[in-house]
């Protein structure tokens, strides 16, 4: 065949063949589509967002490079400072509560309960409901005039006036955290449950024979073996919480008195409603160091334990 087609084609085919047989070239070729997608839809927007933070762009008007001006303003801006505080408070408290309750729920669900699958499915419900919808439900629950919680407490004679859930700064912070926790628990619980099921029962049997108490079993078997999962789950949980937007936007729009403004909602308010695209982008960029810190913490603090590397504790 080669003789019929001539030397040119033969050479061409040999290039193709060489390509097909080269693991390097093939590797790159197969990675190309994914790389393009990532560059186009992830790296480019992220880069653009970061770049915008260093300009004075307005919506629809490309800006000029102004260096750190946005940032130097933002660090002195009282609303941004408050939003940063709110975000950190919201993330830390909500994440700790979600972890505690989520772990507890996972341990409960890991036991042999009647209707086990049913309960496991039900636990996922808050996670399945679209955030905007559950946020609207919470909005009614926390309403200053129509709150069912206030109504019940009033009927029971425990309070004499409706609780101002979203009108008082600290009440509002706590209320939004409760709504966030409600929504975030299923993710933590189900993921940790999956982790729990990978732990071999033989460890528990062996320890039981040695006379370990349930607490000792938890402390010395469950917790260490669950740590890698905890690290991953909590990293994600912290990221979701830190960048929360929908819940706040529906419940309070950042009010009262900006007490629940998170970095994400403030960035939106400044960039889209206010048209100051660059400033909003700068606020969003300001979130990055905190997110990185959270990831680093869980990566180095939780995940890379010596035992994981095969070494002794």
């Amino acid at each position: 065949m080669a003789a019929v087609l001539g030397p040119t084609v033969q050479r061409k085919r040999s290039i193709l063949e060489r390509f097909q047989n080269s693991p390097n070239a093939l590797g790159w070729a197969f990675m190309l589509p994914a790389t393009v997608l990532l560059l186009l839809f992830l790296t480019y927007p992220l880069g653009l967002g970061t770049w915008l933070g260093f300009t004075d762009a307005k919506i629809g008007r490309s800006g000029e490079w102004i260096g750190l001006e946005n940032f130097s303003f933002l660090v002195t801006d009282s609303v941004t400072q408050l939003a940063l505080f709110n975000t950190i408070f919201y993330t830390v408290v909500a994440s700790i509560v979600k972890f505690g309750l989520g772990l507890w729920l996972a341990l409960l669900l890991n036991k042999n309960l009647p209707f086990q699958s049913f309960f496991r499915a039900v636990v996922l419900l808050p996670w399945i409901v679209p955030t905007a919808l559950s946020a609207i439900a919470f909005w009614w629950i926390f309403d200053a005039q129509f709150s069912i919680i206030s109504w019940v407490l009033l009927k029971l004679g425990l309070i004499d006036r409706y609780i101002d859930f979203l009108g008082d700064p600290w009440n509002a912070r706590v209320s939004t955290i409760i709504a966030n926790v409600w929504r975030g628990i299923p993710f933590v619980a189900i993921s940790l449950l999956a982790g729990l099921q990978t732990i071999s029962p033989s460890y528990y049997e062996a320890s039981a024979i040695d006379g370990a108490t349930p607490w000792q079993q938890f402390r010395h078997i469950t917790l260490p073996l669950l740590t890698p999962i905890i690290a991953v789950v909590m990293t994600f949980s912290v990221l979701f919480t830190f960048t929360d937007f929908q819940l706040i936007y529906v419940l309070t729009r950042g009010g009262p008195l900006n007490a629940t403004h998170l970095m994400a909602t403030l960035a939106f308010q400044r960039a889209i409603s206010g048209g100051a695209l660059a400033e909003g982008a700068a606020i969003a960029t300001l979130m990055v160091p905190f997110l990185l810190a959270a990831i680093m913490f869980s990566y180095f603090g939780l995940q890379r334990r010596a035992w994981q590397q095969g070494g002794d504790k």
């Binding site: 919506i59 979203l166 900006n258 409603s273």
Partner: protein, 440 residues
């Protein structure tokens, strides 16, 4: 545009309106004096982006007018609807990328963000102004910033007035609704004593927190002066904030958290007997399927905002404009469309369809049946007349838009009213925040 000019214009056009109004029928008289024609381009098609209706009657009447236009001219018009807060960023992107709808119906100071991207519609605005008794000053402030060139055609405003329960106001000892701020505060106190308090939004409510502008302006305070210098930290603002503090003390608890829908819900549930709102509460009550709510409609009435120490109306409403973009391929068709929609036959039907939700920008429409068919509609008819533009008394643009969207005034009032900051602290903070926007 200077105050002097504005006042002169006001006097002049009021005279015209009065003279014309004395004639047999207002519209017929002035129509004879004016005519203008735009020749639509061949094969023209138009795309219009407008804010979504607040009341069904609005869009029904609007679409009927659009159909009439298409039937008369053969020009196909596609209407897209978006929530009003989403129109603003879309319009800005359209303006600056040079592609998008031919006409955008947007809000407040949008035209001042990209004046050079908008088609000059001075001929059309002059024609409409002369034919229909003149534009209200607020329209000029928004759309004719240099006093010469019109950047767009004013459409009107979604007026917010004081909505109250007649029986409750009477029970509080007021036979008529107070017209000044002193009487208004007495009413708020009376209502609270009777257990039927008032409530006005103090959360980050884009529409319903606009009453805080009225509060500041009515006492002589303002965010910026004519030269865009921030002057919110002033003795006048201080007085306004002290007044606001007393208002808040007589409100129903919880208004700090209120967003746009809260006061509607609380009012329709009889938890409050006075609030600031568009005509939508009354509209909803009147058209409710619940007999109890329907009954309430008879007891609902409306009043303009009381006049403060400055001695003139200082209302703040959501303003609507109509902008034609320079990039349109069919500028003549676009102008013809706006002309058609603003002519009495169409515009009056639209005002009536919207049931008082939209207040007219042209004086002649003070005679529109919508304001007399139900006396409860009447106060809304003066919304554009009594309105000051956002960013009063400065020039409009990115600074006024940004300061408004960041709730600087609303936050200041909420901080002072709730006592979380002293009025002085709240004012200083607002001054600092506003200076950032007006620095550029």
């Amino acid at each position: 545009m200077s105050d002097l000019n504005r006042r002169k214009f006001l006097e002049g056009s009021a005279g015209v309106a009065a003279a014309v109004g004395a004639g047999s029928t207002l519209f017929a008289t002035s129509a004879q004096a004016q005519s203008i024609t735009f020749k639509p381009e061949k094969g023209a098609k138009l795309r219009v982006l407008r804010w979504s209706r607040f009341v069904q009657g609005d869009i029904d009447a609007y679409m009927a007018n659009v159909k009439k236009f298409t039937d008369a001219t053969g020009i196909e018009v596609r209407i897209d609807n978006e929530g009003w807060e989403d129109v603003r960023p879309k319009a800005a992107v359209a303006a600056n990328t040079g592609a998008g709808p031919d006409i955008i119906l947007s809000t407040n100071d949008d035209a001042n963000l990209y004046p050079e991207k908008l088609l000059d519609v001075t001929d059309l605005a002059d024609y409409l102004g002369k034919k229909y008794g003149g534009w209200y000053p607020a329209c000029e402030a928004y759309l004719r910033p240099d006093g010469k060139k019109w950047l767009g055609i004013a459409l009107g405003s979604a007026g917010a007035m004081l909505v109250y329960r007649q029986s409750h106001v009477k029970a509080a000892g007021f036979d008529t609704f107070p017209k000044d701020t002193a009487g208004f505060l007495a009413l708020l106190k009376g209502l609270k004593e009777k257990g039927t308090p008032a409530g006005m939004a103090l959360g980050n409510a884009t529409g319903d927190s606009l009453w805080t502008n009225w509060l500041i302006w009515s006492h002589g305070g303002k965010l910026v002066d004519k030269d865009n210098k921030v002057v919110i930290d002033s003795p006048e603002t201080m007085k306004a904030l002290e007044y606001g503090k007393e208002m808040y003390a007589n409100f129903i608890p919880g208004t700090l958290s209120w967003l746009d829908p809260n006061n509607n819900k609380a009012f329709l549930d009889s938890q409050i007997s006075l609030t600031n709102n568009g005509i939508s509460i009354y509209y909803a009550a009147k058209n409710s399927k619940d007999d109890k709510v329907k009954e309430m409609a008879a007891d609902i009435n409306h009043a303009p905002y009381p006049i403060g120490p400055v001695g003139e109306p200082t209302e703040s409403h959501l303003f609507f404009n109509q902008m034609i973009f320079k990039y349109t391929k069919y500028p003549q068709a676009a102008k013809e469309f706006l002309r058609f929609m603003m002519e009495r036959e169409q515009f009056d039907a639209w005002l009536i369809g919207a049931g008082g939700y939209i207040a007219h920008p042209l004086r002649a429409y003070e005679k529109s049946a919508v304001w007399s068919v139900d006396p409860k509609n009447t106060p809304y008819g003066n919304a554009v007349k009594n309105m000051r533009p956002t960013g009063y008394a400065g020039k409009l643009g990115y600074a006024s838009a940004g300061a408004g969207a960041d709730f600087i005034v609303a936050n200041m009032v909420a901080e002072a009213a709730s006592g979380s900051k002293t009025p002085k602290e709240a004012m200083e903070r607002a001054q600092k925040r506003a200076e950032r926007y007006y620095k550029v």
